[in-house]
Amino acid sequence: MNTHDIFQLVFYVVTLTLLSVPLGIYMADVYENKKTFLTPIVQPMEKLIYRLCSVDAAAEMHWKRYAMAMMIFNGMGLLAVYFLQRTQGMLPLNPQALPGVSPDSALNTAISFASNTNWQGYSGEQTMSYLTQMLGLTVQNFVSAATGMAVLAAFMRAFARQSTDLIGNFWVDLVRSICYVLLPLALVLSLALVSQGVVQTFNPFSEYTPIESIKDAKGEQVSKPMIALGPAASQVAIKQLGTNGGGFFNVNSSHPLENPTPFSNYLEVLSILLIPAALCWTFGRMVGAIRQGAVIFISMSFVFLVALLICSISEGSGNPLFHQFMNLASITNMEGKEVRFGVFLSTLWATATTVASNGSVNSMHDSLLPVAGMMPMLMMQLGEVIFGGVGSGLYGMIVFALITVFIAGLMVGRTPEYLGKKIESFEVKMASIIILIPPALVLIGTAVAVSLDAGVSSLCNHGAHGFSEILYAFSSAGNNNGSAFAGLNANTPFYNYALGIAMFYARFWLAVPVLAIAGSIAGKKTVPQGAGTLPTDTVLFVILLISVVIIFGALTFFPALALGPIVEHLQMIFKK
């Protein structure tokens, strides 16, 4: 890292922090149904939506009904995306006349977008019609993000309440997340992106005559080369803001028409962490103690920065195997990177997109050096709780906070309490389910895939790096991230189904127990802090929380990582 990189990093961290505070406080007002500066404009639309959908906004729900509403709504969205893809060949707004998507790929993509993973087994510009991109994928980008935010809103509300079995209204939380937060931000961001050169048009692909005529592999002239276009900016904006990550084009935000300039790159990478970071302050505000939010924000930022430094410094040191070429000017690893971003902005993105469960990319992670590539993998394996998905990251982190007070309670014989609520066996059981499911999906999935021909035959790279490709895929799906070591050809029935299952359970088997905790917590009385209470707004708690997250992740995944990136790193440094 040189001084130029450090300036960019400082600018990024400072602007992210400064923007996250007002946005977080604004979102607290949104979820507490207070008047905001957008209320005069948005409220008429909001009320119209409730009327059209026969929603009684004042009626709150029990956690079971809340969970039920979430499941039915997401299930229906999943089916809609599936059938849209299957029938797109017969539907309008398909200027390239793309055929319907295969059943396994369509199912995978439907789960992927409904679960806020946005894993892509397909190539965007060669598979999805403009109609599918808009009605299917863009819509899910909004509603899956809003689902995560809604579940979090209910969860935060539960800590702020006592002695009630009501945690809010799912429809209200969903509608308000979209109308007050996601939609206004996406509108502004998409236009800013267009100004930088991200395309936004309904015109078909543009034919062009390049300066030198194009020859294909057989030496024959390609008669009609095309430039892929489409309504990309509107989708890119929400894919960044909603921790979705599914690109309009195959190579996602490394595509020059999806991320044309270093400034568009700044806006996009800022948007990855903006809402997840802001929600920390929302949490502090809603539970009536901003320091509680600050503790979470600082813990997340610390892990993020350490991971970023490791990734960036390791990648910046270059590939020692390049020394075999005597007349190469440097050993910088530019394979899979764009010149306008260089090494630092590529690693900044790789870390941000994996601490958050975004999963968009601006470089090819598969071509990262072993240690640099291990950091994105590890950040996903920590359970997507370092910022994480919008909503889902913070509720995951609060679950880790519950585990932390529980462990601390066991060590010193104190009653575990968090924010004045006693943490008892029900909460700890649910929390255990929540933190155990993703590692199980990742490790079992990887083990199955490496044992089957169907799993191994998709590899692009072999040996230790091949193992990393598979481990990365399941880490990504099993934690709803969506980024990939993209050399793995995942558009096969085996991977489409296996990763589809992982994505589905990683999302909904976690969201439902989270709501169960919310229901239980809301029912408890808030007890005043006593001498036996472990304060959760101190530096000590930051250290404890980070330790629990890291130790749990490291213990679970060290053996698997040792077989992949760690072995490859050793091979690399000893082979030269």
């Binding site: 039920m68 267009v194 062009y208």
Partner: protein, 188 residues
């Protein structure tokens, strides 16, 4: 249960229209009104109105009189602007080194000349419009020879096309190959 199902359906319909139709159409209308050039792909047209490319998308150049772009891994031909792709070769993959070796050989560096690494490694998108300033400078002598031009003249042109970090802060110095080559053709 029935009520929730009905509400799910209605909410999904409403948001399909709001975020799936109204939102992208609104963005398109504003974008076309304010940034039409960018929104349509930053297309460069020749004097007779034919589209010759996008200033944001790289093109393949193999003639010695042009600056070469970076290697591209798109299929079925390099710089396929309708099918972006990276190589995804890992950092210890023997194929990567085989390809890099062949590319260095193809560039024919003179004794003591060092090849900039971005000229022999494939970009992420396969459509990278840029090369590093060093990669442009590396090619000056070849181009001056092929075009019977003074090296200094080509060097001046390259210097004009070096883009510094955006707003002095973001990104890396770079040269847009397509724009440089168009300017090169206009050089007398």
């Amino acid at each position: 249960m029935t009520k929730l199902t009905l509400q799910s359906f209605l909410v999904l319909m409403v948001f399909t229209i709001l975020t799936g139709v109204i939102y992208p159409v609104t963005v398109t209308m504003i974008a076309q009104a304010t940034f039409a050039y960018q929104a349509n792909g930053s297309l460069i047209k020749s004097a007779d109105g034919k589209v010759i490319g996008s200033e944001l998308l790289g093109q393949q150049f193999s003639d010695a009189k042009y600056f070469f772009s970076r290697p591209s891994s798109t299929a079925p031909f390099a710089y396929n602007a309708a099918g972006s792709a990276g190589s995804n070769l890992g950092p210890t993959n023997a194929d990567l080194f085989k390809q890099m070796g062949a590319r260095i050989e193809h560039l024919q560096p003179e004794a003591g000349q060092k090849v900039p690494v971005d000229l022999v490694t494939a970009s992420a998108s396969g459509l990278d419009p840029h090369i590093s300033p060093e990669a442009a400078i590396f090619q000056i002598d070849r181009i001056a020879k092929a075009r019977n031009l003074d090296s200094a003249k080509v060097r001046t042109l390259v210097d004009q096309f070096v883009e510094q970090p955006q707003m002095h802060l973001f990104g890396e110095p770079r040269v847009n190959v397509l724009k440089l080559n168009i300017a090169l053709d206009g050089l007398k």
